[in-house]
């Protein structure tokens, strides 16, 4: 499929919402995958920092899995970090996703994400670019790409963003086009939560659960409540150390050394418990920190 297919702005199939951004709408769109008009009906842009933290990764997984399962199309920019996480989670949840490329349609950028690229197409998603052939990505093509990401979507969900980041550029476009902006709150000590904090201060909606977004799209989540009450979960552990670990991890994800210190237990004992709990699927490890799953 060298060269991809082309959709012209005068074409009937051209996405309505994108046309509405007026002069900035791209004349032509190159695409790969099966063009199905209704993929554009309910689009949500999910964007995050390139340097997504383990927190951001977890939040993406939590929110996007449910949103994608509710047949909302997830749009993002295929960059590593936040974009990649959004695409991957969608694909894994069996949802449809649109990747807007900052380069020519015949290129995959970054090239090592080829496997994800193929999975997007296989899952009835789309690869879109306004650049033809092997047009190389450049510093000015990224912000241009971001305007399409925002333009295609009714709302934008910002997971994590630094100040002066490309992610905030996408938010700016969304504001300009009059699209709804959701931002995920995060710890203020983190560089990549400063951008989202700024957005919230400026009036963006706070997203803490998938319902916040689904309500906006007027879709009722069909996800059954599987949340286990903290008390119930803790009750499952007969072992004292496991109980205390869970209780602490609920408050704050930690690494093994600080857990041992806080619980005043030997690191060997804590490590043993952590391995067992991880195998049972109660907790998980991201980087060197443990989280309650």
């Amino acid at each position: 499929m060298e060269g991809g297919n082309i959709i012209n702005i005068k074409d009937e199939k051209y996405p309505e919402l994108l046309k509405k951004i007026g002069k900035e709408a791209p004349e032509k769109l190159y695409y790969k995958g099966d063009w199905d008009d209704n993929i554009f009906d309910n689009c949500l842009a999910v964007v995050g920092s390139r340097h997504l933290t383990s927190y951001g990764k977890m939040i993406t997984e939590q929110l996007v899995t449910e949103i994608a399962a509710a047949s909302i199309t997830i749009v993002s920019g295929f960059m590593y970090g936040g974009d990649e996480a959004a695409h991957r989670v969608t694909v894994e949840a069996g949802g449809r996703t649109i990747a807007v490329m900052p380069c020519g349609i015949d290129m995959i950028h970054p090239e090592y994400q080829e496997e994800l690229y193929n999975r997007i197409i296989k899952n009835e998603g789309l690869i879109i670019s306004e650049f033809e052939g092997k047009f190389p990505p450049a510093s000015w093509t990224y912000p241009k790409r971001n305007r399409i990401v925002a333009g295609l979507s009714k709302a934008v969900l910002i997971i994590e963003a630094g100040l002066n980041s490309g992610t905030l550029i996408t938010a700016e476009f969304a504001k300009k086009f009059g699209r709804k902006i959701f931002a995920v709150p995060g710890p203020l000590t983190s560089e990549v939560s400063k951008g989202t904090a700024k957005l919230i201060k400026e009036g963006a909606s706070v997203a803490t659960e998938a319902k916040d977004i689904l309500d906006f799209y007027k879709i009722i989540s069909n996800k059954k409540s599987v949340e286990v009450k903290p008390q119930q979960l803790v009750g499952q552990f007969k072992d004292d150390i496991e109980k205390r670990i869970i209780e602490h991890l609920k408050k704050e994800p930690s690494e093994v050394d600080s857990l041992a210190r806080i619980l005043s237990a030997s690191v060997a004992k804590v490590g043993t418990a952590l391995s067992l709990m991880q195998l049972k699927g109660f907790i998980r490890q991201e980087g060197d920190k443990y989280y309650v799953d």
Binding site: R50, H51, S54, Y80, G81, P110, Y112, T189, E191, V192, E255, V256, D257, S258, A260, R261, S266, V267, A268, G271, T272, A273, L274, S275, L276, Q278, L279, Q285, G287, D288
Partner: protein, 511 residues
Amino acid sequence: MLIKIPSAANLGLETIKVDVEVNLANRGLPGFEIVGLPDKAVDESKERVRAAILSSGIEFPAKKITVNLAPADIPKEGSFYDLPIALGILDSVLQFEIPEESLFFGELSLDGSLRHTKGAFLFALFAKEKGFENLFVPKDSANEAAVIKGIKVFPVENLFQLVSHFLKRKLINQAVYKEPEDRLPIPAEFDMREILGQEQAKRAAEISAAGGHNIIMVGSPGSGKTMLARALPGIMPPLSEEESLEVTKIYSIAGNIPPGGSVISYRQFRAPHHTASPVGLIGGGTRPHPGEISLAHRGVLFLDEFNEFPRQVMEAMRQPLEDGYLTISRSKEIVRYPADFMLVASANPCPCGYFNHPKKNCVCTPRQIRKYQKRISGPILDRIDLHVIVQPVDIEEFSENQKASESLESSGIIRERAILAREIQKKRFNGESIQSNAQMKNSHIKKYCKLTKEVEQLLKQASMKFQLSARSYMKMIKVARTIADLEKAPEITVSHMAEALQYRSKIYESI
């Protein structure tokens, strides 16, 4: 007139007998020639010998002198032929009697005195093996040679003294072996109790010392990887007498024993820089020399910034890591140096060093990180049993009580546990060719590490979840065995295995 003085030549760690034949001919022009494949150091011996004899107040014979080092087809190197050559010349002039079964060894200074010369220990071993009774060595090297019992070692200060000895004017007293300071490990640069936090890394260090496991520490700059590595020798069990002799051999041949020094009685800590040449690290050269990995024999080889080491060096370490020795083949000789070391490696997680750092932001792209991590060869990682992530310590997280070093375990206490664990292993592998859990091959694991159904199930579950390779699967068993030994437990239990899983490779997993 022909004089024959016995001496020896070292080929790697092996020593062969060499006869120094000295002929003084009355016919022909006066001159001095050495034949028998001498290297530059041996050839220059002529000038040293001539000056030393003159400085000793003895006239140098104006004859045609020919020295042959027999057998003539083996290359000779080193400066220790000075003494036998000088002695041969002096003997043919002064006609004294040299007791049979005597071996001579030493480098001469121009003033006639003898200098500390490398390899004395190997000579003494050779003398004992071949039934020589007397060994004459420089005074500074005498303690090194006197370790070997059953031979008489004579410390020689200068040429004149030796001549007086043979002319029976003034005898040299036999050297008495001075025991080196007790066989304790060297006081390592740091005590474990000086290191705040890093609980898991310390525990991993304990396991590695107890089972001889190789270990890699991954963490940001300043997180304390180097400090931990330098504290490691302090928790390792002391060298056994046999091991200590093995190490001394290597140090003697490499010239790393100081004047007056004796056997190496403590585990060595070698920390070569990554810019060191491959030959310097691994060993080799036209006349194969032991490298850093052999100098770390029975000790610790610490490779800081592991991914900066050239690929060639890493690949060359595979054989020694597997077999415990290194074979260097040259067209004329094949030399085998022991290199049974514990590898302690440290690495940054990414080029900038701050990947997963709690405070600082990493500026690397995934591509850069991948490339950086791939610099460590997979087969080498496969041979490293323990993987730990070392995080920078935030001092504010500690309570006053926790900050007090008294609350922390000292290296001495940890070492006691490691010694006990090693003793259990020694008993276990009695009659086998291995001594520690880390050295177990698959056949040993099958024989000595029978897993209960429960433990096996846990491990199988873990290898699915964490995608452990077959080799990692075996590594986990070895590590669990050591953890059990530390507790003196006869069987590996679920909790031993669960703890072992903590040390599986995590961030370098994908390579």
